[in-house]
């Protein structure tokens, strides 16, 4: 159910960015869904649909939800490697001393908008 809060934030960010760009309509928004967040994409899509009526610019927007895999950086050997499951470890040297550098965010990446300027 945290998808409700997240959908609201995504819409707010997209609308704010559209306003800043002088857009009156947002055609497409690309959203990166970090695997670590355990976000149910169908549920997120449902809430985006339900809540966007409050945002006139987003009425017909297509939201592309792209899953983002987890990547970790190793503190021992410095390598950055993708992770396939839980129990994260460096893919190069096997060290458990790692930090997550991707896959833990829900990111509004970019969007296509329609503006008045010709």
């Amino acid at each position: 159910m945290h998808e409700l809060s997240l959908a609201d934030e995504v819409l707010g960010i997209a609308d704010e960015a559209a306003a800043a760009a002088g857009a009156w309509e947002v055609l497409r928004v690309r959203v990166g869904v970090g695997w670590l967040l355990q976000v149910e994409r169908q549920s997120l899509a449902f809430y985006l649909e339900a809540l966007r009526r409050d945002y006139p610019r987003l009425r017909d927007t297509v939201f592309e939800l792209e899953e983002e895999a987890v990547r970790v950086r190793c503190r021992a050997c410095g390598e950055e490697t993708a992770q396939a499951g839980w129990g994260f470890a460096c893919g190069a040297c096997g060290s458990r001393d790692i930090e997550v550098v991707a896959g833990d965010l829900l990111e509004v990446r970019d969007m296509e908008v329609r503006t008045d300027d010709v």
């Binding site: 159910m1 934030e9 960010i13 965010l105 829900l106 296509e112 908008v113």
Partner: protein, 231 residues
């Protein structure tokens, strides 16, 4: 001017790169700075409903003296947990989320006024009973503590890995019931390590007091660490 040309001018690509948690994270960072300035340790307790968070807290609060402790309790409805904990003689503020399945940093911030931070060593946040949603919301805490009871089954860490990944300590609660259940202790411990290699685990029982001394020691050591940074 041809039509397609005009159309191209009206379409714009906008780079955004902002994330949905940023508003929460900003408040959490502000809270963390405030807690650090006062040397207050903050623990965020997360578990499924019915795993025994409140019962464990009752026993914990009775024995933490002379540490000065306050509790923020999150529930979807009612003040029942706060009422239970007030009997332990510490200041307790209830956060009723009215439907929201997790606590957010803003809710903690708006209820902090109910807690006197000037005279505080430890703030315990009892999150809404839920193993999924609270895990991604930073509340400005020093550590998340995840509770899993022996009655819940040994596969919980595999089913809800995010919280076991993010938490620093796992408490296996209702440990006194283990002999009466088809509970595979080794499997639970293995599953925890599979998700979070090296995770610290303590087995406790609020009912019999089993393992409580280790949990209290863990808290006291953390408080000491935080205060040594503060001074």
């Amino acid at each position: 001017m041809c039509e397609t040309h005009a159309e191209q001018h009206q379409h714009r690509h906008v780079e955004v790169h902002r994330h949905a948690m940023e508003a929460n994270d900003q408040v959490a960072a502000r809270l963390r700075r405030g807690f650090a300035a006062r040397g207050i340790l903050v623990l965020n307790l997360i578990s499924a409903p019915g795993s025994g968070k409140t019962a464990l807290l009752e026993r914990t609060l009775e024995q933490l003296s002379p540490l000065r402790v306050s509790v923020l309790v999150g529930d979807v409805e009612t003040e029942r947990d706060a009422e239970r904990l007030r009997h332990c003689g510490v200041p307790v503020a209830q956060i009723v989320t009215a439907g929201t399945c997790h606590l957010e940093a803003g809710m903690v911030e708006s209820h902090l006024a109910e807690v006197d931070q000037r005279e505080l060593d430890l703030l315990i946040v009892e999150n809404v009973g839920n193993l999924v949603c609270p895990s991604g919301f930073d509340l400005g805490e020093d550590a998340k503590v995840v509770l899993v009871s022996t009655t819940e089954g040994e596969d919980k860490p595999l089913k809800y890995p995010a919280i076991f990944h993010r938490a620093e300590l796992a408490l296996v609660t209702k440990a006194d019931l283990a002999p009466h259940l088809d509970f595979d202790r080794e499997a639970l411990l293995q599953n925890i390590q599979a998700v979070h290699p090296g995770m610290e685990v303590l087995e406790v029982s609020a009912r019999t007091g089993l393992g409580l001394d280790l949990w209290l020691d863990w808290i006291r050591a953390k408080v000491g660490e935080k205060q040594s940074l503060h001074v």
